[in-house]
Structure formats: C-alpha cells, structure tokens
Point group: C2
Chain length 341, copies 2
DNA sequence: CCGATTGCCGTAAACGTTTCCGATCGGCGG
DNA sequence: CCGCCGATCGGAAACGTTTACGGCAATCGG
C-alpha cells in the first residue's frame, strides 16, 4: 500500500494525497477528509525513508550514551530515567530516535559523524559521557547540533544541559547546618569531572556563607563508587576533631560512608548525618534511607530536546555559543540525615 | 557528497561505485581499491534512506520497552544492562537500532506496527513488558518478527527469550539447604506474570526434591517492590514455626525482608538467611550484601538478536512456533545468606 | 581461426515520496 | 463581456541508491 495506490483509490493524484496528509492548505476540506478516511481504512502509512530522501530531513535524532566502557558507575543508576525522559520528550516533539553505538575498534573515530550523515540525523543527544571520547570529539567539532546532558564538551553547535550541581550541594550543606551540624565534611568525585568540581564548589560556597571552617582534611576525594566512599568515611572519622556530618557527591559514596560509620560503631544519623547526590534506586532501599540531592531527570530530558531544537532551527547566522541550561535539583530528606524518620 | 560525485571523481559509473563499496564480485580489485580510497578521502557515506528505499530493507530493528507506565519496578534496575547488551549485540550483527515509543493516547493501538512499516523495520525486540499491552498485541499478532526478553506474548512470528527462572530459584533453595536450612519460605511476585510463576515453580520443585515440607503460609505473594517484601517478611516471621531462610523472587522484596528481620531484632544471616533474584545495583550496596540469582543480561541480549535473526531469515514456510530460548542464571553468594562474608 | 564464455563495466529503470510549475474553473469587479 | 484572481488539483521532476540488462573486450577450447 503506497501513495500511488491510495491516490488511485481516492480518484486523485499522488500530489493531492501528499498534500492532504501533510496538512497543506491547497486542498479542499472534502477531499482531505475522504483521503484521510481511506488512508486509515487501508492502513496506509507513508514510507519514511522515501520522505527523508526527498525532504532531506529525517525527523530523527541520534542518541549516544556510555561511550564504550561501561564503567563510570556514577551515572549508570539514573541513566535509565534519563533515557526514558529523553525518549518521551522527543516523541512529544514528533522526533524519531535512533540509538548510536560507539565502535570498539580504534580506527573508528568519526563513526558517530558518519552515522549522522548516513541517516540524515538532525541532531544528537549525548548522555553523561566523559569528555575524552575521540568519537565524540569528532562529532562535537562538526556542525551537527549536539545536546549533552551532564557532560562537558564544546563545539560549534553544542549545548550543555546539566543539573545545578553547585546549588544542589549548597542546599545539602544548608540542610545539615539547619539540623545543627557545624563540622561538615565532604567526599568529592574525581575533580577533573565537571559535575564533581561543581558540587565541591557548592559545598565550599555554602560553608563560607554559613561561616563554617573547612579544615583541609575535611575535603577528601573519591571515585563515585562504593568502596571509595567507605574509605573516605574511614579517613574522615579518624580525624581527631571528627565531622558530625558528611556530604558525599554521589550516592554510592554516601552509602559507603554510612558503612564506615557502622564499622566505627557510630549510629546514623544520630552520631553522623550523611547526605548524598543523585537519588539512585538504592538510596531508598538502604537503611537508614539516604537523604540525597535528586536530579530532575524529566526536566533534564525536556531541556535537552528543547535546546537541541533551538540549535536545529537556528539559522547559521546566530551561532553565538548556546547558553548552557541548568536544571534545578531537589533535596530529598530521609533517615540518614534527619533523626526520627 | 553523493555517489554520483564520487563516481565522477573516480572516473567510473555509479553502478561500479555501488558494487565496489558493497563488496560485489563483478568489480576488479584495482578499481575497487581506488574507489575505496577516494571514498574515505572524501568522507563519503552512503545515504541509508535511499538504500532502504530501493533495497526495501533497512537493516534496522525496533526496540520497545516499558510500555507506557513506568511502574513495574521489578525490571527497571537491570533494564539498562539489557538495553546495553541488546545494543551491542545488534551493532555486532550490523543492525541499526530505533527506539519505539508507546503512545499515551488510547486510540493509538497499532502505533508500533505503523512505525515498523513506516521505517521498514525488519523486526522488533521487546524488553520486559507486561503481556496486556494492546499496542504490543497488535504487533505480536502481525507477521513482524518479534523477540521478547523476559516477557510473555505469542504470535505468528514471535520468540521468547528469558532467564531460566525455575532453575535459578531451585539453585537458590539448594544453596540455602546446603547451608543447613530446612525451613525455607518464599515471597513471590504477582503470579500472573510468567517470571514470578516460574520462580515459584522452581522453589516448589527444589523443596520436594530435597524433601522439605512447605506449609502453605510459607508461600506469600508480593508485588516485586520493597514495601511488599517488608510486609511479607513481617508475616513470615510471625509464624510460630518461623522460617530460618527466605527466598524472595525479587531483590527489592528480599531487601524488604531483611528490613523486617531487623525490625524483629533478628540478625541476617545468623537468624535469617535471605536470597533474592535479579542482582539489581542495590544488591551489592546494602548491608549485609544481598545473595541473589543474577540474570545474564549480555546472554539475554545476544540470544534475543540471534533468535530475531532466525525469524527474519526464516522462509515463510518453516513457521513452526519458534522455540523459546532459556538463558541460565548465576547464583551470587553474598553476606545475606552465608555467615562470615 | 571461430564461437562461446568470462570478467568488467555502463545505461537506465526502479524505489515512494514531496514539491515546483502549470492548468483549469468559478467568481468577481469593471 | 473581459481579464484577473484565488482555490484546487495534476504532471513530472527530483532525492540517492541498487540492480537488471546489455555491451565490449579478452580468453579459451577445439
């Protein structure tokens, strides 16, 4: 069932059918209705490859995540939510979605760029990928519109959307302060990653604003994984003037810190309050449940497609570097910080 | 840069270029090499829409997951791993991947089927979706090749791949038996879901094989979520002749059972051993770490694309109902069952 | 030496759309 | 009545590939 067949049965030309189904004006309401009815009766669906061939646009955008190595478990937990959010946001905007795969081979740089031009993709959304991906560099350096969620790369037509890491961290510290804590330590992520650095900055800003002293040993670095949080907790709790609260830049590390407290015979939150970041699934499952700074996955998703559409529709003229979109976070207060919950 | 341009620069016809790049035999090695070199120099990439238009196949398969409502948290945790596995398996088989979206509107049944014929998709992989999805029913009833991972629906060209739920449950019970437990209870998932039913069957089979008595109150139903596991645990521990071990058909419920034990003043695993199912991320983060039956996500992924390719390549003749593919599981022994870990 | 075969390549027709360019027709003002 | 205009439609040319078909050498067997 193609457009010619449908045209024949409707007694009109293919041009008219096309116009009718695409809501063009130069068609009478009567014939439009007749064609519509016949189309749905016959189960006609236009052939997208043919459409993109002639229109030279595919209404499809590409999605890349996870860049080869699956490691970097920091993101993994909410990647799925992000993916889901992006998917629905895109389909609401009448875009199709194609998943791109980063090749394992070395010589395959430009694979993403190739995929984009092969399929006439109109843009690409990148999820939480480390910035040192060569395949991605090629893409970002090209003129392909790119929106990166929670990732850091720049390029001619690139926009970054991320959570307000600094403000989130600040809110966490503020929360601990209001609970009465004055000795608040932090365990950070790898500081070369922008989110980790921003969360540390927020922590520091809050401390100075609240007049809290931050001895250098109160700031210790982790790698976003469980074990590093446990080790960091052990270090922090061994300090003579030990902190009464810990803000961890990631939930896994926060849970690790709680383990360290348990090993030291300390009760959470009575002897030590802990706040994490991300709100991974496990945060609600551990005991005590983890207070954490939740990212707005849906918000990130819709902001990304919105920003991407901006880049796509932009005329070549106004290629001022697109402003990054910052999405607010939400503090989730649970048992690991507030007593009696 | 299209094939005509490349042909012009190579001094041959477009037919020859096409043959050269598609590894057809009727081209001399010399010209093939020249064309290859020129193509990569000029950054030529064939236009896929045009190819699919004329070849009438797209080398693309569709992926649908999560069927509208995001609920059913049972799967959520390892859905991401599954997705990743499917993606790499497909790209290894030189397929492209398109994400399908289930529409929110009611009248949009057949949306998936429409998408398939619009884009010339050659098959669809369905991830962990409840069988009562109308949009999916339409798809399964059609002649579109479908592979469903961990889901139950049948249709003319449909194949099911799932973990060996029964054997996994059996192994879990066996493990508890070997640790000396004789009073082993279970908390199941919603029994209308095939995985839940199969896990219960495995539990029962193991018990009869090992000569364990199963009082009816030892079998209690949950909904795969945390709270239901906690409630189930509370019920089980209130039994006069209370079980010393619990096999839960899902990790969240297992963790809930552990919470119930803690509330009852029981130590895990000393007073109560717990084994879960799925190996979600949180399983390794809780304390004690959760023993669980891990699903082989990668195995499920490759089996699904393999099965799907089988369906695609099958001539219309041999449409004997495809055999379901059963993927073995792996028992992960951690602190919640074995003391001293 | 001749007909048939083989290897290599070009011409052109598809594939299913969209859209430019006209054509037709009725109505309208002058 | 004439010319013009707007509304509605059809014809046909694209879009970038693949592939059936045919052609032209060179080779080969006899």
């Amino acid at each position: 069932m193609n457009i010619r067949e449908l045209a024949r049965r409707s007694g009109v030309s293919t041009a008219t059918v096309s116009r009718a189904l695409n809501d063009r004006a130069e068609v009478s309401e009567a014939t439009r209705a007749k064609i519509r009815r016949l189309a749905s009766e016959l189960g006609y669906a236009p052939n997208e490859p043919a459409r993109t061939l002639v229109r030279r646009r595919s209404d499809t955008i590409g999605l890349v995540w996870d860049s080869g190595q699956e490691a970097l478990g920091q993101h993994n937990p909410f990647l799925l939510g992000l993916l889901s959010a992006v998917r629905t946001a895109l389909s609401d905007a009448d875009y199709h979605l194609m998943l791109l795969t980063t090749p394992s081979a070395e010589d395959q740089d430009g694979a993403h760029l190739q995929a984009v031009q092969r399929h006439n993709l109109e843009g690409v959304i990148v999820l939480t990928t480390p910035p040192d991906d060569r395949c991605l560099r090629v893409l970002a350096d090209s003129t392909v519109p790119c929106a990166g969620i929670d990732t850091a790369f720049t390029g001619p037509r690139t926009v970054r959307v991320s959570s307000d890491n600094a403000a989130g961290a600040e809110a966490a510290v503020q929360h601990l302060y209001e609970l009465g804590h004055r000795r608040i330590a932090t365990v950070t992520g790898p500081l070369h990653l922008p989110p980790a650095a921003e969360r540390l900055a927020g922590y520091l800003r809050a401390c100075t604003r609240l007049g809290l002293s931050v001895p250098p040993e109160y700031v210790t670095e982790g790698d976003f994984f469980l074990a590093s949080g446990e080790a960091a907790g052990k270090r922090l709790l061994a300090i003579p003037d030990r902190p009464t609260a810990i803000f961890a830049a990631g939930d896994q590390m926060a849970i690790g810190a709680i383990h360290a407290a348990a090993d030291a015979g300390l009760a959470v939150p009575r002897d030590l309050a802990v706040v994490g970041f991300d709100d991974i699934d496990a945060a609600a499952l551990v005991r005590p449940a983890l207070s954490t700074v939740a990212q707005d996955q849906r918000g990130l998703g819709v902001a990304a497609v919105e920003a991407l559409r901006g880049l796509i529709d932009a005329t070549a003229v106004d290629t001022v570097q697109a402003q990054p979109r910052i999405i607010p976070t939400r503090l989730l207060i649970r048992g690991s910080s507030r007593p009696g919950v």
